[in-house]
Amino acid sequence: MESLALLGQGFATCFTPLNLTFIVIGVIIGQIVGLLPGIGPAAGMALLLPLTFGLPPVTAIMMLAGIMYGGQYGGTLTSVLVNVPGEAASVMTAVDGYQIARRGRAGAALSIAAIGSFLAGVGACVAVVFVTPPLSEFALKFNAPEYFLLATLGITATASLGGSSATKALLAAVLGLYISLVGTDPILGIPRLNFGQVKLLEGIDFLPVAIGIFGIAEVLSSLERVHDMHPIRTRLRDMWLTAQEWSESRVAILRGGLVGFVVGIMPGAGPTIAAMMAYVTEKRFSRHPERFGKGALDAVAAAESANNSAAHGATIPMLALGIPGSASTAVLLAALILHGIRPGPMLMIEQGPLVWGLIASMFVGNLILLVINLPLAPLFASLLRVPYAYLAPGILAISLVGAYSATLDIATVWMCLVFGLIGWFMIKFDVPRAPLVLALVLAPLLEFSLRQSLLLSFGSPAIFVQRPLSAIILLLVVISLVSPFVVAVRNRARLRREHRSAA
């Protein structure tokens, strides 16, 4: 009941003209960012972070969160109408959505995606309301050893869940840790790994890394295959669902929402993994699995419900523990830090109006997105006719201006370019970029709590197993590190057996 009262206060925070305006701006920008291939919600949030410096923190966070979940809605349009995922979490939507559009039912695919995203998003927001406060209270029992292991778990879980190659994901996380080591030792104040450069004494800021790795790298990669898109036309009257289409999809929305929420809470998994798992789960439970891949409406419903549900679920570890659940929540966490707010279990106590205002804004934002995506979907779809070539230079230019605005120093622009190049190579070598950003955000917490733990234990590592909570988290860290390799070895053995029996 206390949660509902606090949520009511959150709505009061949300319904001010300034906050409502920026929620609308955030979700519309998120919709557009999701729509455009070549730039995802995390990149959009990183690019627009500098614009939030003049805003009150609660307004800034509401706007950035709007971009985060708005991107899940926007990605559907490109996936369905052009067969190009607008952002990574819409990959599964493209598989079936485009086939539905080719049969002349693009409107149905867009409608079920919007409705599914709305219902799953609101369901996830309700779960955030009731799960976050007790988790945050529980986390108040945490001390330095638990924080160190939790930060480590956030990094290793990202590596094991986040992509096809666990080793490459771990390498990316290690790179993020190395970047964070540059600057000054946080406890003794001694210069470290700055190679005599005065400009590096303050370390490498999050913003040029995020803008370079996500923004510049993605756009450069997209410029390699510049071609004009020709989206399938859709009209407002096509958006109505038939009774049969609705009855085919409603259970898929429920299942997709649940799968997405559970996956979203896990650090590192994120909306992309959630959409894939929901697709696979729905195919298993569907009465007509043979239709999957050929234009199954329930496939679109499941994937879209899952990705939006995961985007909201990822805010739970971020708000309760200060551990981001995805690349987008890592940027949101960085935004909190840049606005002078300390994330962690005390966030709900020290910044109650901000947290509850954010949660309330997610309800409001989802409602706005439903309104935008049902009647106004054809209008947004017309944006797809603008050749990407005319948008890319602007995105690149705004990236550099945004990087400059962080420190008003041209050195930050150079840093952004260096990380843009690194990010481009990471895309080419198929190294996931999210672990790098997550490690960069978690590194200060990781180092500080590690050194504090060892100080408390007079240098003995036994402190990490003596406390039951930290022992459990340590076990989870070990499982998250070992499991991808166990799975890989098993798969290799199975392939060898199949090969032998085929021969």
């Binding site: 490459k168 602007g394 690149l396 550099l400 400059y404 008003l408 041209i410």
Partner: protein, 153 residues
């Protein structure tokens, strides 16, 4: 050895060597608490085995068919990306001389007309709109003092 899988590992091995030797003179332990070299040492301690594991995987994957995961562009595509990146570097170089907005104007025109071969008038319209948006948002609304060149913006 599959090069595209080996290069990230070799890069991390090089960085690990740099991190360890770069912090060699800093204290590993300082009184009763870990020193500045503690975490770099242990990050390298994790990075090196992971990098070696990646090299082993790259070596095992050699000769395997191909889904290496690396997606290299063809020559024209690579040229577009390289020229676009070169344009961005030019912005950083020209900004102290010409000013940031002026440098951006030149970059957008270069990218659209020369690199992407778009028609002239839509490209010029894009230049005008984009530089206008940057001026309006960053300079007028946020009041950011972007570097100004000899021509005044």
């Amino acid at each position: 050895m599959r090069i595209s899988d080996a290069v990230p590992a070799l890069f991390i091995l090089a960085l690990s060597a740099l991190a360890v030797f770069g912090t060699w003179d800093l204290g590993y332990w300082s009184g009763t608490t870990p020193g500045p070299a503690f975490l770099p040492f242990w990050v390298a301690g994790v990075a090196v085995p992971v990098a070696i594991l990646q090299l082993v995987e790259a070596w095992r994957a050699a000769g395997a068919d191909a889904q290496s995961g690396a997606e290299w562009p063809d020559r024209p595509a690579l040229k577009r990306a390289v020229l676009a990146f070169g344009g961005l570097v030019a912005i950083a170089l020209l900004t102290p001389v010409l000013g940031m907005v002026a440098s951006i104007v030149l970059f957008i025109a270069f990218l659209l007309v020369v690199v992407l071969r778009r028609p002239l008038w839509p490209s010029l319209a894009t230049v005008a709109i984009t530089s206008g948006v940057i001026q309006a948002i960053f300079v007028w609304w946020l009041g950011l003092p972007l570097p100004v060149g000899a021509i005044g913006f």
